[in-house]
Symmetry: C3
Subunit: 382 residues, 3 copies
């Protein structure tokens, strides 16, 4: 799994258990080929054009290359063979093999409440032989509150209470404002009057996803308040994690003004995925003491090309500001490949730095531990 020619100490550091600080549950049920293809075919879940397959992607090729052996198949097994063997073993066994194979010591899980097809945080931990903690997605709380509120003032009160209550059981908050609106929102806290007006509109149609920028900002600032009180970090989906809108509006650079406002509050901001804007994210992490960065989903999805992505992140991001996550969702393959390509990519980068005489092996070992688990333990107080 790791590149050759790495010193033994560096290999050990890379193979040490990881903290996967951002992941989603994976499906507990057996999947048809069409279902499996939809789950690996990008977040929007469109089928590939007639006559083509989502296996013809870097991620699909990686499933055949690296996951096949965990299901007792040869590397590069054809899609039909892979899926037949997957069905034969059954989802529970496949999930156990792949989640345990990821070599993770703790999963921090954004577990959508009520989606019984997905493993819960606790189940992710059990299957993976790891601890598990919860992340709270603030837009999910808002949806629950909107559906139960009758008046704007109740809605606003309940929102604050529910955020506090859910945060009390979580290790971090997260937001998908990038995919609901974009990261180019007005960074100021919205005025009470405009929030009330927007809340009234919202209650007319509470089942729709929240896209009103005033309420999204109110929600975000309320979450910041809670995070500040409780010392929790706030994760932002950016880059290819925010695919519903124009890609450039999910560029983390657009968070610049908002991030500057948060600096005096000391709330850690964690930029997730980021690709293809990971250099911009690394830049923000390098100039703002409270900004952190990972490339989550980007590594298993760029797969054979992931070493360059990691290398570009390491061009500028401070070593104490980077985190590992798989960003996994839907299929356990994404958790396994997330960890595998993280280790391969970082291994390739470290081999390059060591070979060029730039970093010492001691540096490399320390950096691998920081990014793989140490930084997450510090920030999430695990």
């Amino acid at each position: 799994m790791l590149p050759v020619d790495l010193p033994g100490t560096v290999r050990e550091a890379l193979l040490a258990p990881l903290v996967d600080h951002h992941c989603h549950g994976v499906r507990r049920d057996d999947l048809s080929r069409a279902e499996f293809e939809l789950l690996i075919g990008g977040e929007d879940g469109s089928p590939s054009p007639p006559g083509t397959t989502h296996f013809d992607t870097p991620f699909g090729a990686a499933v055949r290359r690296w996951c096949a052996p965990l299901l007792d198949l040869e590397p590069h097994a054809p899609p039909a063979v892979y899926l037949a063997r997957r069905a034969e073993l059954g989802a529970a066994e496949v999930n156990r093999r792949l989640l345990a194979g990821a070599g993770v010591v703790a999963f921090l899980v954004d577990a959508a409440a009520g989606d019984i097809e997905l493993l819960s945080a606790a189940e992710m931990g059990r299957h993976g032989g790891a601890a598990a903690d919860e992340l709270v997605r603030i837009e999910e709380i808002e949806r629950d509150v909107a559906e139960l509120s009758e008046a704007a003032i109740d809605y606003l009160d309940s929102l604050g209470e529910e955020l506090s209550a859910r945060a009390a059981r979580a290790v971090g908050l997260k937001t998908v404002v990038g995919s609901l609106f974009g990261l180019d929102f007005d960074p100021s806290r919205p005025a009470t009057g405009s929030v009330l007006a927007a809340a009234n509109r919202r209650l007319a149609d509470p089942k729709e996803p929240l896209t009103d920028p005033v309420l999204l900002r109110h929600l975000l600032w309320s979450a910041i308040d809670v995070a500040r009180e409780r010392g929790l970090p706030v994760q932002f989906h950016t880059g290819l994690g925010g695919s519903a809108l124009d890609p450039h509006r999910a560029d983390p650079a657009r968070l610049g003004a908002f991030v500057r406002r948060l600096q005096p509050l000391g709330v850690p901001v964690i930029l997730l995925h980021c690709y293809p804007y990971h250099r911009q994210a690394a830049f923000l992490a390098s100039v703002h003491p409270h900004v952190y960065v990972d490339v989550g989903l980007a590594l298993p999805h760029t797969a054979a090309g992931s070493a360059r992505v990691m290398d570009e992140l390491l061009e500028l991001a401070p070593f104490h500001k980077q985190l590992f996550s798989s960003g996994c969702h839907g299929v356990a393959e994404s958790a396994y490949l997330g960890a595998l390509y993280y280790r391969r990519a970082l291994g390739t980068v470290l081999r390059g730095r060591l070979g060029a005489g730039e970093w010492s092996s001691t540096d490399a070992v320390r950096i691998a531990h920081m990014i793989g688990s140490g930084n997450a333990r510090r920030i999430y107080r695990l």
Copy 2:
């Protein structure tokens, strides 16, 4: 031409004839040094500063390195020697050598009507020993219609008719809206009233390039209608192919909202050139079933650096979504170098994937055929 250490089957697949799905005619006449420099010096065609030469560019160095031997010169021949030999052989012979040397089985040509200095589509095919089909540039049709129309209503009627008539003889449509306005246009179909008003303004000055955003949107949506009826794809110049305006406004990410509107219509959208925004283009191609991508001009113009560009495209773009084009224009060198750097770059990328054990040789062969010709045959129904 290809990197060493590639398996024989992969070499063969890379050397197989290509479909060049987007190119322009090249000059049929002998060129002075000043003319040649202007043609290789970027789309705007400014001379290089006093005391400098456009040969001092990656493209210029590539002409000396790779085209010189086709004119019986040593690699790295000095510019003056190269141009003297080019003149000695004559444009017809040079065009034949370079176009045939490209190893192309079919050219899809955006042939500007009436520009007798440029080879027509049929001539490109003859010189290159290949089939040739036409692409229709919708802004050229609009200009013709504007010059011949007397009233707004005639203009609008003729525009629809002419688009249909020209599309009937073509394999695809293309637009340069990115360089005339930018890709950040309002994605909605414009209202009839505003189109009529804009058409009236347009007829006052029909010889100017069309920059009015309402008419450009009307033209684009009319072209989409025609493309949908006839099952034709629509090509968009993006990135370094749209140089007349601010580069960031030619970022294909700006097409995100428009592309989402087209998804239910099933009209294939092909993003041309894309560099330096090719990762954004690959992302769009990965989430939208109707979006395709190439890096056309970017390969011969990044030349010695083109393998990284190809590698970055292959980070995320599905293999069934990528196409080869030379984007050639002006000089036959650009057609030859387009094909050469496509093969070299893809060869380098494949060698890397094979060497790392990521893809099998069978995968590599299949991917090379898909990108080099198979995808184009499917999309353009060749």
Copy 3:
């Protein structure tokens, strides 16, 4: 310092003295650990989070790797050892070793007037065994004028006079409009009435940094007038050199419309730093005859990853359009590492091009001389 396997002539060309066409003074006094960390921790100068250190960055690792031996220490010396030795030698000796070690023949210095903690241009030259010339930062002139003017009309007159007077002693002008406002300013020359109104507002609060877009544009256009009269180039901080605002607003692509307006005036525009938007900068340099580019600060700050940054710049930028600068500021380590990583990165790029048979050694030698000093001599008329 250079990669192995380079031909001797290319090594010589890379080791030839450089013109550092953009740098700042470095501190003349002995620095505490906290002061040193602030100076290496990005332009905003925030301390790193508790329990972390700015030495855990690519730049910090590079200080330990490459500067330690110049202070008679082993490579990779721990931070505490490095700083103890630095204090032992004293700032003057450290500055001499590092500045002389940079191998620079001429420094072009943006020397903040009145900041007595920083070496002046003349001192930079003396310590580095080099010539030294001055760059005029136009926003500094504006601040001086604003503080001394009593009425708007005086302010405007004095601004023009002072720009002319200071330009007479300088080799170039520079602007930080990117960090004060952003590069997405209205490219037109502002109307006199609006300038007068803005000047009146300005004089109410002359000690604040100038952020008014009308006055910034007036200042910029006034500087362009002076530059045109005197044949001077104008430098623009872009990319990571303009960190105070949203990163994407420091993308040099945003200067596209302004740059087009300057083209007929013939004033050279030099894009500094640029990263992570250096490909966009290279594109502008490739299509506009008056646009030049460097990656200054980006090389020492990406350090072990700098070869890729240089390689990406060389994908498209004409060889006669690139310049070397260290962008150094604060500590002499940044001047030394700027030169070192420039040479290492360019060496790595050239080795790749030579190994692939793309460029000849003669080409490589000539390109190294152009970028290292020749282009700067031509543009700044040194």
